[in-house]
Assembly symmetry: D2
Homo-oligomer: 144 residues x 4
Amino acid sequence: MNFTPSHPEFASVVQASFERQGLMKTLGATLDRIEPGRIDISVRYRDSLSQQHRFLHAAVTTAIADTACGYAALSLMPAGSEVLTVEFKVNLLRPAAGTCFVAEGRVVKPGKTITVSRADVLAYTDGVPVLIATLLATMITLAG
Amino acid sequence: MNFTPSHPEFASVVQASFERQGLMKTLGATLDRIEPGRIDISVRYRDSLSQQHRFLHAAVTTAIADTACGYAALSLMPAGSEVLTVEFKVNLLRPAAGTCFVAEGRVVKPGKTITVSRADVLAYTDGVPVLIATLLATMITLAG
Amino acid sequence: MNFTPSHPEFASVVQASFERQGLMKTLGATLDRIEPGRIDISVRYRDSLSQQHRFLHAAVTTAIADTACGYAALSLMPAGSEVLTVEFKVNLLRPAAGTCFVAEGRVVKPGKTITVSRADVLAYTDGVPVLIATLLATMITLAG
Amino acid sequence: MNFTPSHPEFASVVQASFERQGLMKTLGATLDRIEPGRIDISVRYRDSLSQQHRFLHAAVTTAIADTACGYAALSLMPAGSEVLTVEFKVNLLRPAAGTCFVAEGRVVKPGKTITVSRADVLAYTDGVPVLIATLLATMITLAG
């Protein structure tokens, strides 16, 4: 699906908001793609982000997926809006084994108040992607 | 509900698994309560765990809630079992404002293969708790 | 939790809306309890509501649970409001075996725009209840 | 994605199970497509399936989506297996206005024990489809 942004500065709005998130810095997450209704965020594996079996912790997978969903929604909102996650559900499909993890966030249905987004998370090992999680989220617009 | 653990060493099993999680160290999370079918995990607010408005990032709220649900399930599993999160859904009810955040994980329905758990997350400010999130999760037992 | 309704006629508003639902008639569902933030809806087993193993179909369990959640939310909304389900998640905990099924819907967090509700569904056999499902839902208020 | 069925009779297994569901008859639902990992189920609007505003009741939308997800999973399981829904989450994206509603169920990730499926529900008016709901489900295999 192709979406039309509500204002021309959507990319810098998303970028600025992302940079204010202390947690994204803590995780070493980067914002790799900013398009209307589509945001990619990635992290690289480190032991400080692991669960008990040295895979990436599901909370990190979830963090980048939820954040990608939120900014995918924000990219379509009017200038001055803020986005909040109302709720999400995530299925963890495979062990999070890999060196790099990319959450691809996409808007499913934009709306004035409620936007629904989804994200797939891909784990890369030697450049080969495997789908490890899928997340479905409800976002709300806070008017500026 | 009162649950009977499947083996007497459940508390040390949960403790040992928790300590192997690199992410829990990174978040500064602590395991505050270990009972059969009931686990509490808490974190204190720091800027390195924030979202863009200086509240606790929803991913951290989610991380402690999911982990509390998983260990609540593990506390009832036979010796040698491992627990994996199949999926969860979380509703973020209020802004995560506070100095300390406690996820109270409880088993809803134990099972041989599938265990369903839920967690409420309370934000404390000056000792007063406010419910900020509720999470409902499906866990699976991996036999030892 | 005790909730204060926003207007005195909440019970008749819920009752009238329920009676306009063709599906509730088709299922033979009844509205058994109407309190502020708490609604119970029940159905009795019939073969026309079954899944392939002659248990109550999960869609019927879900139908009464979602509807109880929605009306629990509506019971706290201002006069003239309508309620819509934004989304829900349901865990089916045990086979839906029994003669009567009661969904107990409760508001978790009321709000001006978004209300979060949950419902437990109990299956009764010879008067003994068993928890067979739990549902967590996000509702939205449509102003009158 | 293309999936290979585990046994050649998957289509008749799905068909036979569908026909045993009393509720599907009550809803007038039909099984329109049976492919490995992909099942479509549809219903036509009738007042007996309505909610209070004469749209299709969300429970009917959900019923065909969950059932399509379950049979999409069953289509890939070994001979003699049964499928049970562990849980699902559904987002209701738009009012269910239309004359015919089609749930397109697809397997996201098959597995020996757990299969994850998703379904989109399209509402047709004068042959034009609109996406009204999306559902993400966790299914479990019961060995024969």
